[in-house]
């Protein structure tokens, strides 16, 4: 059986996988990091977004073996002990979630936006969220949360 070795949230990890094991299955089932969700099987919903080598990707559409040697960051890698990351805190303060299923993907996607556009306007946030589907909130407060999170990260 092949093994997959990578750095997840700063920690070196390694495990036996099948070639067909998806990165999200490795993260959830092997590493027990269940913050990354799976909401579809068509690569459209974005609940599974993580960062691989600094870029947001859908971990349901990448094989674990393809992430060999990569640096992976999941939602669990953001908080500093008990202190939420400013983007996480902004989602809480702005009511940017209801059931929370889409939230980890939203936050990881938003952080990729902020590294490219530190001060995104509403239109830029909405366009960026093309790959993240929320079935609860109507997006209004997600957009607000991301702009507030971006602002908090700038200060």
């Amino acid at each position: 059986m092949p093994t997959a070795s990578m750095t997840v949230n700063g920690k070196a990890v390694s495990g036996e996988v099948e070639s067909r094991t998806l990165l999200v299955q490795f993260i959830r089932d092997k590493l027990g990091l269940t913050g990354t969700h799976v909401g579809c099987d068509t690569s459209q919903c974005g609940a599974c977004v993580v960062h691989v080598n600094g870029k947001s990707v859908k971990s349901c559409t990448l094989l674990a073996v393809q992430a060999e040697g990569a640096k992976v960051t999941t939602i669990e890698g953001l908080a500093n002990g008990g202190d939420l990351h400013p983007m996480q805190a902004a989602f809480r303060e702005n009511h940017g979630l209801q059931c929370g299923f889409c939230t980890p993907g939203m936050v990881m996607s938003a952080l990729d936006l902020v590294q490219q556009i530190p001060d995104p306007n509403e239109q830029q946030v909405r366009e960026w969220l093309e790959g993240n589907i929320c079935r609860c909130t109507g997006y209004q407060n997600i957009v607000k949360a991301i702009q507030a999170g971006a602002k908090a990260m700038r200060s």
Partner: protein, 262 residues
Amino acid sequence: MHNFDYHRPTSLADAAKRLSGEAKLVAGGMTLIPTLKQRLAQPSSLVDLGGIAELRGIKPEGGGLTIGAMTTHAEVAHSAEVKKTIPALAVLAEGIGDPQVRNRGTIGGSISNNDPAADYPAGLVALGATVITDKRRIAADDFFKGMFETALQDGEIVTAVSFPRPDKAAYMKFPNPASRYAMVGVFVARTGGGIRVAVTGAGPGVFRATEMEKALAGNFSADAIKSVKIPAAGLNSDMHGSAEYRAHLVNVMARRAVTACS
């Protein structure tokens, strides 16, 4: 998903050697992995092109650009070189899917897959690009063969696409609101060799709107093609829009693209 062997060669020659039997190439995986999940394909092995450095990157060449097969949509969209030489191509890449699809999906994967609603085929055909494989060079007009079919032979690997520089070019797409694929996309290019209008999304594969090209040759303006009708016969008709609707959209998108060129 059925299981398979996985290989990640570091050279093109090694990748070609691995491509026997039921082996399949994987580039960004944005089309292939969902297909495997649905068990619509069952390759015995996957040969990942991600480890081959020479397939990546954007180079100015002969006044135009050569883009490696493994260059992602995001890399094309953000490239200063592309924005300078063929800005319409950067716009096209920026409009593909969503940011995460653009971070993984590649130009080589997109054209090899030749989805009838994909964006790149229109860009390649309108710009008169050349597809470069590990075996030969194929003009874009000869490369796309209709729905999900290309001129590629078994085991042939796209290594790059070479684009000449147009005088003016623009791409206008009416995205399907759910998938972001093109309901209709029209790429108009004005080059030394004439005017080319390529349409994606509307039919079973990319095609040139030759009547529009003729009308634009005499008078390069949106008005010149206002009355040029695209026949609805043979166009796609589905839950998102009828063939007549798409035929009409082609004219609207073409006029917008021409306006954006001038």
